[in-house]
Symmetry: C2
Subunit: 340 residues, 2 copies
DNA sequence: CTGAAAGCGCTTACAG
DNA sequence: CTGAAAGCGCTTACAG
């Protein structure tokens, strides 16, 4: 067990004060007009003895931890994992470390996690909030913590956020189906009133109405077992035989949906057109490949962390709310080309 | 900005000493023989004023952060994400918080991350180490930090670890192919000498030799672009037309492999048998479903954190190295039933 | 140019 | 039964 060396040890060894060392470590040697000779000497000592200042003590003293709390819905989702990856990279470049966790869209768990981050004194938050966390988010903001909402937001709260243009992306995807010979287009979504899901539905509905097509929406319970979802969708498609295209609001709904379609023996894309929201590597792997709405992850991530950093760098009174809406990419593959 | 209340504020308000409050908070009221009346009064005050002790100050004082550093290869992989989930749960129950990060199997990144965790004073480590990190792991152990290696280990280091019985699992899977009418069985693996990959190869080789079959191994560079992998495997299968079954050492190799097989027009399972190591939801989604070796994630996770907790709870001199080897599950699906 | 001292918010051995 | 005091390892206003 190697005893870690502290600033006091250096002070004793070099026979100078802790203040001087602290200034040198923090690059304030010039500002404090410390002689070059002393500066060099201290730096060399530090280097030779492998001194690392204690973060803990620094944080206690400065009130800053240089830690950002990142709360996503599910860190194992490709989308969120990539987000975390990109956010982390930029955070590091700015001297911040990221702590991440998954809310699983569970309000209780989220509350606990927020408390946990608070306890750990994170300097700022990037959060994909479950529905109904308005109060907690508001109180975070009220405490003076910089907060950036991500992927979804609360219309009733004045907070910064970075989201995808879900409405437009969804509208475009739905329109594409309508313009490619599909005439009974169903929208399969989650039973959730989160903003991003609502926007996707509205986009779909608008496209249907514009093309004089029927609006057919089927809702699957959130957190459903995939097998249950397959069953529900088989039932749905059996009861709605006229449906000739299905647009899924999430990628995992599409997984279950494709299974259901296969069970019923419909052929993609001819018997049934398919689009999924939120691209996934498997869509390119499956046969036929599946058309999808892709989220520009690195841009979403970059915007989120940059907004947070700008809040972090400003005193409370200068912080302005920033709202960023990023457009999606539409990737056309084989699941939407109907042979006429 | 709400000013947080400190133990000193309570002491002043209640006109008692900080020590007394500290003892009460830490459940040592009885032990320190503090009157029930005072205890109640303090607890009530804390409750009413929402006091939370500063973790930072506690850590600085005790030298413990109650944080476990979890370093996995890639947190977005289903396997590692699930691991993290289970580990976190048990850690929480024991008062520990988890910080996780991904090594991406990159030695330089791993070195940085270890340094980061050290800087943040984590109390213990669970690590899936990239190849060649022996020195860093050893120095962690030498410093007196509890360390549990996971998923793979270093034969030359005396450290605790929890791993899958890769050899046996791989042997069984290979044997299954050999016993189900496949006669030219190729093993597709990564160009990596990590222990788990090595064990999988040895298990395969043993089964082949026992059945008098040819050992055919193809290595794909680690971190290869999937499209590149597909090309390599198409080339490999073209040059090895006799191959009638392929056993993939990881699930993502199987993704590329199936694409290659499809491109060549072979039919699974009749023209080509398939097994993948490390189960994936997609294997059950694909048609035909794909036989796989599944890792019992919750058991692996449970063992890892339990071993770490037992180290954490013991003084340095009482810590014994613990080595745990967990058996795999073999899931037979449709990709391995050859019609004769 | 450099240092002594107070303070961040806890814990804990010691004293009574 | 309870408190005064030192200490964890830093930072920073103040003094000279």
């Amino acid at each position: 067990m190697i005893k870690k060396i502290s600033i006091g040890d250096i002070a004793a060894a070099l026979n100078i004060s802790k203040s001087t060392i602290s200034f040198i470590i923090n690059g304030k040697a010039k500002e404090k007009r410390i002689s070059l000779a002393l500066t060099e000497k201290v730096l060399q000592y530090i280097d030779e003895n492998g001194y690392k200042p204690s973060r803990l003590a620094q944080s206690l003293s400065t009130g800053k931890t240089m830690i950002i709390g990142l709360m996503v819905e599910k860190i194992s989702d490709y989308f969120f994992a990539q987000m975390a990856y990109h956010i982390e990279e930029i955070a590091y470049q700015n001297g911040y470390k990221i702590f991440y966790c998954s809310t699983d869209n569970d309000p209780d768990k989220t509350r606990e996690l927020i408390q946990l981050f608070r306890d750990r004194n994170v300097d700022g938050y990037i959060i994909t909030p479950p529905a109904g966390m308005e109060k907690e988010i508001q109180s975070l903001i009220d405490e003076g913590s910089p907060v950036v909402l991500f992927d979804r937001y609360y219309p009733d709260i004045e907070s910064s956020y970075v989201i995808l243009d879900n409405f437009k992306a969804s509208y475009n995807a739905s329109k594409y189906l309508a313009e490619h010979a599909y005439v009974h287009i169903a929208f399969i979504t989650l039973d959730s009133n989160q903003s991003q899901m609502e926007d996707r539905k509205q986009g779909y509905a608008k496209a249907m109405i514009e093309h004089g097509l029927e609006v057919i929406v089927e809702k699957v319970p959130y957190g459903n077992d995939p097998d249950q979802t397959v069953k529900q969708l088989v039932r749905f498609l059996r009861q709605n035989k006229r449906v000739d295209a299905v647009y899924f609001a999430t990628n995992y709904l599409a997984f279950s949906g494709v299974k259901a379609i296969n069970q019923l023996g419909y052929k993609i894309p001819d018997g049934m057109g398919i689009i999924a929201f939120d691209d996934h590597q498997v869509f390119d792997f499956y046969e036929p490949t599946i058309t999808a709405v892709a989220q520009p992850i690195s841009e979403l991530a970059g915007q989120s962390i940059r907004v947070l950093l700008s809040l972090l760098n400003k005193p409370l009174e200068e912080r302005a709310v920033q709202k960023v809406i990023v457009p999606a990419h539409f990737i056309i593959r084989d699941s939407t080309t109907r042979l006429l």
